[in-house]
């Protein structure tokens, strides 16, 4: 086929391809929303698999703590190094502890923790459930008379939702500790003064909405990771696709949700 004829054909296909992409997006969004609804209903239904939720929290927390902890510490340290000369230009060098603690607690801590957990835990959950799906382990749970959705999905989503505020708290503390290093070495600030300025500059309206926000982030990571894995098809390559898709989708959705929640918090709390 000559190139110009093929190109014309491709041009004609653009609307139909676009339509197909849009349809796929709508179907996927609908499926995820329905999955999330089932999760919410499952979370409030008794009896809960409390033992499994705790096991998942232990597993997910232990896996994530080293990576999120390091991220928090290094982020605080870099933030202090970068902001000190800028604030010094305005004679506001002494505001470094307050600037670090407010920016970490309000925004950087929650979103960085969520993104790191999405990469570490979201993809792991997706791969684990996906491989269970393709090797019929989920069907085996079903035939044993156990609701696999409640046992595998609801417990993981609940664990993520409860765990993220805890991890974010740890990240916030480590970031403030990280920022203390440049404060003491470059600014010769005593630790009493540093922590007084860092902690007392925080208001409840900085802390509470941010912590509540992380529970929403945890729910999103759990739902996307579990949805991709639980509905995986197409053998081992399908598991790989599900795992990649879980990280990409969760990361984009986290950023978008953060944007919406940031505005909402400012409107409602400030």
């Amino acid at each position: 086929m000559p190139d110009h004829v093929r190109d014309k054909g491709m041009m004609r296909d653009i609307p139909s391809n676009l339509k197909a992409v849009c349809m796929r997006f709508v179907v996927q969004a609908g499926s995820t929303a329905s999955f999330a609804r089932r999760c919410i209903l499952g979370m409030f239904r008794l009896p809960r698999d409390t033992e499994e939720v705790i096991r998942q929290m232990d597993e997910l927390g232990a896996k994530s703590l080293p990576v999120v902890g390091t991220t928090g510490f290094v982020t605080g340290l870099i933030l202090a190094i970068q902001s000190r000369p800028v604030l010094a230009r305005f004679g506001a060098e002494s505001y470094v502890p307050a600037m670090v603690s407010i920016s970490v607690v309000r925004e950087l801590g929650p979103i960085l923790t969520a993104l790191m957990v999405a990469g570490r835990v979201g993809s792991g959950m997706s791969a684990e459930l996906g491989s269970m799906r393709v090797t019929e382990q989920i069907e085996a749970i079903e035939v044993s008379g156990t609701d696999s959705f409640r046992f595998l999905v609801v417990t993981r989503v609940l664990a993520c939702t409860l765990l993220l505020p805890l991890l974010t708290g740890i990240v916030n503390v480590l970031a403030i500790l990280g920022a203390y290093l440049p404060a003491v070495t470059e600014m010769h600030m005593s630790w009493q003064l540093y922590f007084h300025r860092a902690v007392y500059s925080l208001w409840l309206r900085d802390v509470i909405p941010a912590i509540l926000k992380t529970a929403v982030f945890g729910f999103i990571i759990g739902v996307i990771g579990c949805h991709q894995g639980y509905t995986a098809t197409g053998g081992t390559s399908g598991v790989g696709r599900a795992s990649t898709s879980a990280v990409v989708t969760a990361s984009l959705l986290l950023l978008f949700t953060d944007m919406v929640l940031a505005k909402l918090i400012v409107v409602l709390w400030n």
Binding site: E128, T135, E136, Q137, E139, A140, I141, V143, S144, G145
Partner: protein
């Protein structure tokens, strides 16, 4: 007395019919083997019986109760009366052999740890794998995995056992061992069983009655020996080539 009655069962995938009106009855305490070529829809039929797949139309009655369209909570109760051996054993690979066997027990009742441990050990001894109790599924051979799968399905003392290709992927010697194990366990527990397979040697050992599935319908039902003189060409050919 018929324990399972399947009437006019139809299933299709993306418009492609797989089952086109299957009729089958299974009496209490009997073992029926469904024979057929790969892709004939045998596993679909088995998964429909336990409610893992929903048929397009037709009826599946278990102990007088209609399973098609049954509410999920009730379906879980029915499933607890059944055991299922998966083609690839489907062992939970995050758990040890002990964990695999304890899982179903923990989910339905909470027996004392001592009692549960004794039941697990007894079940593994019956399938000849008492030494493998603390191994993980990745440390087991194909035959061992099937045996553990069998022990896991039987530990809850089901009334009905469903076997999906119990000897597929095994060498002839191990396949025969598994078939003989199934037959001896059937006799010990006096269970109602349905097995799907394309292995006539397995059917010869375990079946009271066979049904041949071809092109989505049961084209032969009766004793295994009757296949040789069946009216249907496919049934005679299947028996002759096996």
């Amino acid at each position: 007395m018929e324990l399972i009655e399947i009437r006019n069962l139809c299933t299709s995938f993306d418009g492609m019919p797989v089952l086109r009106g299957v009729n089958l009855t299974v009496g209490k305490g009997t073992t029926v083997v469904i024979l057929g070529t790969s892709g004939a829809g045998k596993s679909v039929l088995l998964k429909s019986i336990i409610g893992l797949m929903t048929p397009d139309s037709g009826s599946i009655r278990f102990d007088g109760k209609e399973l098609v369209g049954m509410e999920s909570r009730e379906l879980y109760t029915v499933r607890r009366r059944m055991g299922y051996l998966f083609q690839g054993a489907a062992l939970y690979d995050s758990m040890t052999v002990r964990g695999n066997l304890e899982f179903a027990l923990r989910r339905r009742e909470v027996p004392e740890d001592d009692e549960m441990g004794a039941r697990v050990e007894e079940q593994l001894r019956l399938v000849g794998l008492a030494d493998a109790i603390d191994k993980t599924p990745s440390q087991l051979s194909g035959g061992m995995r099937k045996r553990v799968g069998l022990a896991r399905a039987l530990i809850t003392q089901p009334e009905v056992m469903l076997y999906d290709e119990p000897t597929t992927g095994l060498d002839p010697v191990t396949g025969r061992e598994i078939s003989e194990l199934i037959q001896s366990l059937q006799q010990q527990h006096a269970m109602t069983s349905i097995a799907v397979t394309h292995d006539v040697a397995c059917a010869r050992i375990i079946a009271d009655r066979v049904a041949v599935l071809n092109k989505g319908v049961i084209c032969f039902e009766g004793a295994l020996g009757g296949m040789e003189h069946a009216d249907d060409d496919f049934v005679r050919q299947f028996f002759a080539t096996a």
